[in-house]
């Protein structure tokens, strides 16, 4: 039988590969506010720290391109003060002793906490005593008819092009969806010279949010900023349509028009570009591939890694901070990154738990007001049910494998299906290159709504390495060959 099955592999000769590897006390994945702040703090505590990030410059998505942008006179006017605040954090990071690996994708963290990285010099591996996942957030998928057409992007994509390349869309732009970022990005596009023709806002959920209103108004900066954006957009003549439903994008080979219903009437806008957005969700594929336990956050309609007070995950030596541990925004991410660094230092007995608690107490105090506004925002901008799980059968849910909502629903009703992993087996959802990032939550919501249970009961995909694309030849690379 051994000859039939052929390749017999000794389990423990992986140890040999470790010998030539550089080992750090803390390895951080992600150069957004959480990762940067954690790096600065850890280096100040004397931890030998490495930060690995796939972008060419520090900042993550929120402070994307901040170094180049901060040298340009138009940036402050276009992007606003919150963005420019990132420059200081990046400066501190650059001045720190953290070893920084840009343009480097972590495609696997193995069970010995080695980080496998694909960078400019091919595949390398580094070891780590503590790993901090600071992989941030991604925009929630907005599966509506026509969302796969060219000429449809996320709002964040347009913002990224503006921040990192100074590129803005020309022609007639319509933004659609919900959440606080929708207005901010509309304003940034307007300041960059091309105001959107319209902003289509889905219905907000004041009834669900009302209980959180007192705490929200006690965070005056959020209220002031939100009202300021609306006023600015209105002054510029940008039309804001509220309470919009049944948004669909029309076109054969590209988006040509967007249709929606408002006040009982179907309306249509001609478009050159539609930008979709409905909030952000934790970017959890790396944590999932490590088999960190995740929990359903019902307020934010997303899964997040289960963490304890020290920001540790269920996997020993793996911490999680920033938006990938639950959405809290940039400032909260920065503060939680610092807390994570103190905990990593405690975990390897570099500082005492007393010292950690002393250092973290003021950070925790500073964190509180930033988290105070969140429950209201989560409730007020709760995505409508038909955006979480498309009602129409022919809406594409899995963009990679082109699986439609109806097919998923049919499996649940016709033959029963224990969960998203069996669904993956049955109809190939999540089997394509994005590994479920763009369909996972929708598949779970579809199954949950069809069965009438909470998405938390449905569970999520098991995510397998490599979580970033590598060639088979790179997978075959052994560490000592680097």
């Amino acid at each position: 039988m051994a000859s039939i099955l052929g390749i017999f592999c000794a389990a423990n000769f992986g140890l040999r590969t470790l010998l030539t590897m550089d080992t750090f006390e803390l390895a951080i994945v992600g150069a957004g506010p959480a990762g940067l702040a954690a790096g600065v703090t850890a280096a100040a505590l004397g931890l030998r720290t490495v930060l690995v990030d796939e972008q060419p410059a520090p900042g993550g998505q929120i402070y994307r391109g901040i170094e180049a942008a901060s040298r340009h006179p138009d940036s402050a006017r276009v992007f606003g003060e919150d963005y420019m605040a990132g420059a200081d954090l990046v400066r501190q990071f650059r001045a720190s002793a953290v070893k920084y690996l840009p343009l480097s994708q972590v495609w696997q963290i193995d069970r010995d906490r080695n980080l496998w990285i694909r960078g400019a010099n091919g595949v390398t591996a580094i070891g780590a005593r503590q790993v901090l996942l600071a992989t941030g957030a991604m925009e929630r998928p907005v599966p509506i008819p026509g969302w796969t057409l060219p000429g449809v992007m996320t709002c964040g994509a347009a913002q990224t092009l503006l921040k990192s390349a100074g590129l803005a869309p020309s022609g007639r732009i319509v933004l659609a969806g919900g959440g606080p970022l929708l207005l901010l990005i509309a304003a940034q596009l307007m300041r960059a010279g091309n105001p959107p023709a319209a902003i289509l806002q889905t219905s907000t959920n004041l009834r669900r949010a009302i209980a959180h209103l007192p705490r929200f108004v006690s965070s005056p900066s959020y209220v002031r900023k939100g009202l300021g954006l609306v006023a600015e957009l209105r002054r510029a003549g940008v039309r804001i349509e509220r309470g919009v439903g049944d948004i669909r994008i029309l076109g054969e080979t590209r988006a040509e028009a967007v249709e929606y219903i408002r006040a009982g009437t179907r309306r249509r806008e001609q478009v050159d570009l539609v930008l979709l957005h409905h909030g952000v969700v934790p970017n959890t594929n790396l944590a999932l591939s490590l088999r960190c336990e995740h929990e359903w956050n019902d307020a934010q309609h997303a899964f997040q890694p289960r963490t304890h007070a020290g920001l540790g995950s269920s996997v020993e030596g793996v911490l999680v901070a920033g938006d990938c541990a639950g959405i809290g925004g940039a400032k909260a991410a920065e503060l939680r990154g610092r807390i994570a660094a103190y905990n990593a230092a405690t975990n390897i007995e570099r500082i005492s738990t007393d010292a950690r608690d002393r250092q973290c107490a003021p950070i925790q105090r500073e964190l509180r007001p930033h988290l105070r506004a969140r429950p209201f925002l989560d409730a007020y901008f709760e995505p409508p049910r038909d955006l979480l799980a498309p009602v129409e059968d022919d809406v594409v849910v899995c963009r990679c494998e082109e699986v439609r909502a109806g097919e998923i629903r049919r499996i649940v009703t016709e033959q029963s299906c224990p969960g998203p992993n069996q669904m993956k087996a049955f109809v190939r959802t999540g089997m394509g290159p994005c590994q479920g990032r763009l369909c996972g939550l929708t598949v779970v919501e579809l199954m949950a709504q069809t069965r009438g249970v909470s998405p938390g009961e449905i569970g999520y995909y098991r995510i397998r390495p490599p979580i970033k694309p590598i060639a088979l030849g790179e997978l075959a690379t052994r560490a000592q060959e680097k």
Binding site: I7, C9, G14, R111, N421, F426, R428, M431
Partner: protein, 372 residues
């Protein structure tokens, strides 16, 4: 909730689904009890070959049983397609075993000759072929390929779609499938079984254990010795490519969708189904030696599955002598043997006795070994 049924099948993978579907074909209305979404599922981690060319040297019964199933797979696939509309992806256009050294070639030649000698005349159709002949079949073979074996009777299915089709057809014929139904206990009497799950109590005169690695503890409750253990195997799948590998090989094949599957390793690791990175490296390196073009091809996923292995690797088919009506059906080749389980094993369950040709697979063979 209390239920009664004609039979209870414990398990939800290919083995259980094939037997359960087979029972519905014979007019029974069984219940199938599956676990939750993240159980150890060999059905979702296998290599999907319907293979005969290497099956059972020294055990002619196994060679014949595998060939019988391979011969009947077309019928099963056609039947499932007409009942469910799902294409199981069954293709039987021949399969290749690749040898990367003279040593491998010599060992394989021995296996092929032994199997031919042990088969009825003309029934074993694999033959050793030269490197030049290999290249005629698949021009993509690399310079390290020294030769191999080819068998026209071998092929592949899509095991995931097959599972879906079997379960769909089972439900359509009146079977009841329950997921999240881990069995907590079995109360057994001859031809009267009551199985408890968290939410149900199900009684039936027939019981089939087809729960893979779960058969060992379940078997103990109905007087069946099922000494299975997990053997970990890892698989790599690549991005979709336009058709490039017309024939499957033992360790590398192109799926109907276009991805290349690379497997399979064999590792004793208990119930640990995490990936061993060293194994991934070895699999990748060997695949590139076999087909050098793969070096540039993107990897989409790697995963580990747990095979269900008996001490001598062969299936265990048995009816409990203490509790007649309770059967066990377990093997590590649930794909190849799918048709045999659906058509033949199900019939044995309904008949109430296993046919003589399956006597070689009785678990009593392990008792004999223990006495030596």
């Amino acid at each position: 909730m209390k239920l009664t049924a004609d039979a209870i099948v414990i398990g939800g993978g290919l083995v259980a689904s094939a037997v359960a579907y087979g029972l519905t074909r014979l007019g029974l209305k069984p219940v199938m009890l599956d676990e939750g979404d993240v159980a150890y599922r060999a059905s979702r981690g296998n290599f999907a070959l319907v293979w005969t060319q290497s099956k059972g040297p020294g055990v002619p019964e196994y060679q014949q049983w595998s060939r019988l199933s391979s011969d009947k797979w077309s019928e099963l696939a056609a039947e499932l397609q007409s009942e469910t509309g799902v294409d199981c992806g069954h293709r039987r256009n021949g399969g290749i075993h690749v040898c990367l050294s003279e040593d491998e070639l010599a060992k394989r030649t021995q296996v092929v000759e032994q199997l031919r000698a042990e088969a009825p005349p003309g029934r074993y159709r694999a033959q050793m072929i030269s490197r030049a002949e290999m290249l005629k079949l698949l021009p993509a073979f690399g310079p390290d390929v020294v030769g191999g074996a080819y068998c026209p009777d071998d092929g592949t299915v899509n095991p995931l779609f097959s599972l879906r089709a079997l379960q769909r057809a089972f439900s359509a014929r009146g079977g009841r499938y329950f997921c999240d139904s881990r069995v907590s206990s079995i109360a057994a009497a001859p031809r009267a079984f009551t199985v408890e799950t968290a939410s149900r109590s199900i009684s039936a005169p027939r019981l089939v254990l087809a729960a893979g690695l779960g058969n060992k503890p379940l078997g103990e409750q109905v007087g069946l010795n099922v000494p299975v253990r997990p053997v970990r195997g890892q698989i790599i799948v690549t991005e979709r490519l336009k058709p490039v590998l017309e024939y499957p090989t033992t360790y590398i094949r192109q799926t109907v969708e276009g991805g290349i599957l690379i497997g399979e390793s064999r590792e004793e690791a208990g119930f640990d189904d995490t990936l061993n990175h060293t194994v991934s490296q070895t699999l990748a390196a060997r695949a590139i030696r076999t087909f050098p073009f793969l070096k540039q091809v993107g990897v989409v996923r790697t995963w580990a599955g747990l095979r269900v292995m008996s001490p001598d690797v062969y299936p265990i088919y048995e009816q409990s002598s203490a509790y007649p009506g309770a059967f066990v059906c377990t093997c590590h080749s649930g794909v190849t043997l799918g048709a045999a389980h659906a058509f033949e094993y199900a019939k044995a369950v309904v008949d109430g006795h296993l046919p003589e040709k399956l006597g070689r697979f009785s678990s009593r063979r392990f008792d004999v070994q223990a006495r030596h």
